[in-house]
Subunit: 351 residues, 4 copies
């Protein structure tokens, strides 16, 4: 995509990730001004963006509206890329159609992240097994630019990763790739997320009285993002245990990742391993040995911060990974992918 | 009521005030043990109390259940007093029936608090104007023991006050009764409440993402508790402005009450006025001049803490009033009323 | 100031307002790049900005340091404007020196905001009464661009307003200027601020255990910002009562302002009065009648949001004013003043 | 100790654990009334308890004071048992003296919890290696009543466990004792604590602005409580990894404990193992398989709640353990120990 001709459409701006996506795109230097952005929804109602998200008032042109969507309309507007912040099943339905209309797609849902049907088993999609689904899945590139930059650059379909998966994969990939991590002791990923990760729907668990002054674990041995860890890190289910917790904060994830090395390593070696891996990845900030990242420093940024501590035995290490679940864990990563697909700097509109 | 023969029934324990009511009654020294407490609900389902409120596990006998309710059952169990933590309309329906069955009632809802139909105008009840409603209202005593101890002691129906109303009335009554408060400048009551005051129903406004890191005002010039202020303080709507706000905390109310005196007073006089008024009121703690109460010191207690600051002019004063909206503002006050009705110490089971 | 030649120095970046100031200036479109920004401190230590504020990593050039400051160094660097986020007494000392070196100054402290010595009485400065102090004070322009745009544009010394004062003055000025506000009933300003307003020093009151799950009022009839209200709104101490409270949130102020009109007005008239006053003020967002602002919508923005509710009597009105105490209440306002002084758009670097 | 003759002294009530200790003892049924409780401090100042902890007003007799302490005074008062909520070094000094005066002692600090000098190595005490210290240590019983009831009953010195250690040991002991836990994969204990665990001293890390909206890990591979895990569970440092985190809540700990079994087990077996172990331990509540505890349900109680989830492979299990760090993790456990030492019901004064 070249500037000027770039026309981006977004579906599903009503949720938290959608609001962040709208905010980022509205002030993206390559997408300045109204004409290049189309916000769509199903149905026939038109509603101004600031009515849906009052906090965007003043940032968004008043007249910018979420409009009834149709494929014809997207074509008429010259839309080249479609970003979907829609529910999983919605994305299962729309992505094949979008591809058939020649659009490039970034899908923020979990619809197209997993290659192995086995990993999709817990959350079966209604079209599972259909030829069109298989063909679509075959096109999907897992949208973690730190791992798949080249493939994303030319992809027609980018499956934007899960928030927990992003934090954990970025923590582990350098060490696993280096062949350092021994799997006989297993890997433990203890992750904690703010409430925005649970979505905008008011439920018993998103009630302030439930979430505040509390901490709870959930989805033990059964979280949807586990499959992403297995595929991206090339592990088996037995190798890794991942437990999410609900933190009493609006946004941010911290993952505490426990690994054992095959051999002794020094802190300098570990730090170098991480730094080398992310040399060309401006959105990952590697901390010096013993300096641990924390959620506050990444909240409302697109950075993933990594730090670690090595045990005195030189064998056990704990990697701490932090990011904002709505940005690097969702909307920010989608914009980063859009930048890569468009041949722009990865960080454009994200600093 | 005498100990031993005391049988208390509670309807509506599923909400926050209901849970606190159950907790208080379960460890009330006069109501020790299962037999004296009946927890009821409409419908035919039986459910253990700890299934509804896991935090009561270990405090409540495991076998204690919320049971299908009928008037016959209450009679068979020898129930003498009924506490209702039910929605307003439910209480409008049940209270007349309960009275006709010879029960004494403490109603935590807003159904029977207001004498003047004008003050009930905003929230019209469906039975408004019926003879039975009028007769029931005539029996109702406003359940603020600091003001109406004698009437509560012999009442058949106690209308438990609103949480905001309790905080504000206790702040103002001594000064208004003393004739000190000039009304030509009006009284401003700026009150702030924790989220439990908004109820257990998950809504957009009780979502953690709405309430946390936020403050919002609501129901300006239109809050249901305003009528209670007018009736109990004998003011007109023009005399007093009351604004509630939603605080990002689980529980507690702080009301900042601005008054102007007709004449200059000293801090000593103001403190004496408050202390004298509450000499026999063990649940109100009056602070020394310049020592202001705060929510933390009353949370999870049945105390209302009062403090004040006098302007250098000796004419303007700010009274700060704090209480726990679920205790002194609801369930604790109900138990205090039960104590008064039963001839027990006001503080029994409340310290 | 013209672009290119603009050289800005900031003193006092270690605090919360200082961090925000550094963040804003680093990404200000007119100040792009290292050379135009100098961060100074007393003493001889040099320290990288990201060591002081890790959350700025990736936003700030790694090599950007807080450096030992001297007037000669500022001159050598070609600094034209000095922003001070320093303690009051520090600013009392430095501002006259800076002016004598020909610098234009924006002072974020409370050192030079008050013209009337009476209003400075509670917080006497050590140099109070000196000729140089009097001369400096005479130069100071109160830095609220919505009120004093022209004077700020050519000022040598801008005294950046207090956070509470900004919220309250913006709420009241249109109605007071219109002559609508009757003072016989007085004005009540009940304001609530997040903990960042209390500064970075760890104290008993900024301890998490004190501030969380709590609300407390402080400085009744004795807050430093009161004088700003009196001078900017041309009121006497008797006309207005201002009470601050400490909210359990990181940042944001909400002020609930109670006024009585001399005559009846309609909601349309009130809304028009506010809108007209702020026609040319892009950082003030006036809400429609009955739509109340809340802290979440202004946090991390430089907007001040205003909304109101009119009583049925058409005489009493409540204006709700919200802003971020570190931005529109401090660092953002300073940048807005810098923009005005430099002849740039008010909103540059602030959206 | 028999009722009536019981005289308890407490040193160190100014901190958070001390305040809880005072609260519990003041309403303990066996210690009713002033005469049986002595609150002491070093120095010559006398201060009323409610001046130090305003939230205890109304619960504590007004005249109850923290008084200058001396061993003679304790003897004159007939004190039989001393509870120390004092800093580690203070307890190192006072405990031997108290024992020499014939007092029984419960020490809440970390001074006497560790038998193995190796485990005390990181936090060397100043008297380390002295004969009196060795003799005192030899008398100390680790005060976890669920493990050492008989020894505590007759102990002269009870070393009250660390808060994290209590949560983790209670989670692991039944499974480790049963010989089920395979150590070749190691045990991971990922624990999270509220801010009260960091003490009352205002520091950069207890500042609201640091702790709120944040999560941070600390003391990796280096936390003082680790030694308690090793000794009580009879493990080596290589077997277990323990990481604490600072949660943005006032109180409560949740520990997520990852174990691997030597052989496959069913959920029924695991639940039975836990339930059997705690049959006679009323302060431990074992949840049914798949029902996970959360912090809210134990906050402000002396319970430790345990739940677990078994992996589909029947080999990996996650045990979730929750408690209130100031109660079961400190003051409540001390009272539980006092109950055991006195031959009372473990739960007296704790429900």
């Amino acid at each position: 995509m070249k500037q000027g001709q770039t026309q981006i459409a977004v579906m599903g701006v009503t949720g938290y990730a959608g609001a962040e996506l709208a905010r980022l795109l509205l002030r993206h230097p390559r997408l300045a001004g109204n004409p290049s952005l189309f916000l769509g929804r199903e149905g026939s109602a038109r509603e101004s963006l600031t009515a849906i998200h009052p906090q965007l008032a003043g940032l968004s042109p008043d007249q910018l509206c979420v409009e009834p969507f149709s494929w014809d309309l997207l074509a008429a507007r010259g839309v080249k890329a479609l970003l979907l912040a829609t529910p999983h099943e919605q994305s299962r339905k729309w992505v094949p159609e979008a591809l058939s209309h020649g659009l490039r797609v970034i899908d923020l849902s979990g619809a197209w992240r997993l290659e192995d049907p086995w990993n999709r088993a817990i959350y079966k999609f209604s079209d599972e097994g259909s030829p069109i689904a298989a063909k679509t899945q075959a096109e999907a590139v897992y949208g973690l630019p730190e791992l798949h930059h080249a493939a994303i650059a030319k992809a027609r379909l980018v499956a934007n990763p899960g928030c927990y998966a992003t934090a954990i994969i970025l923590a582990l990939k350098p060490l696993v790739s280096a062949g350092w991590v021994g799997l006989d002791r297993g890997i433990v990923c203890d992750a904690k997320s703010g409430v925005s990760g649970a979505g905008k729907e008011p439920t018993a668990k998103t009630h302030f009285m439930y979430a505040a002054d509390n901490l709870s674990a959930y989805a033990l041995f059964a979280h949807r993002h586990t499959g992403e860890l297995l595929e991206q890190l090339e592990l088996t289910a037995d190798d890794i245990t991942f437990t999410p917790h609900l933190l009493p904060i609006p946004r941010g994830i911290l993952a505490t990742v426990y690994v054992t090395f095959r051999e002794r390593h020094t802190a300098e070696e570990v730090e170098a391993c991480l730094r080398d891996f992310y040399t060309d990845s401006p959105m990952v900030r590697v901390h010096s040995a013993g300096h641990l990242p924390q959620i506050q420093h990444v909240a409302r940024t697109n950075f993933c911060d990594l730090g670690f501590q090595l045990a005195p035995d030189g064998r056990r290490a704990i990697v701490i990974s932090c990011l904002d679940n709505l940005l690097k864990g969702a909307a920010g990563q989608a914009v980063q992918n859009l930048n890569v697909m468009s041949g722009w700097q990865q960080t454009e509109g994200l600093l």
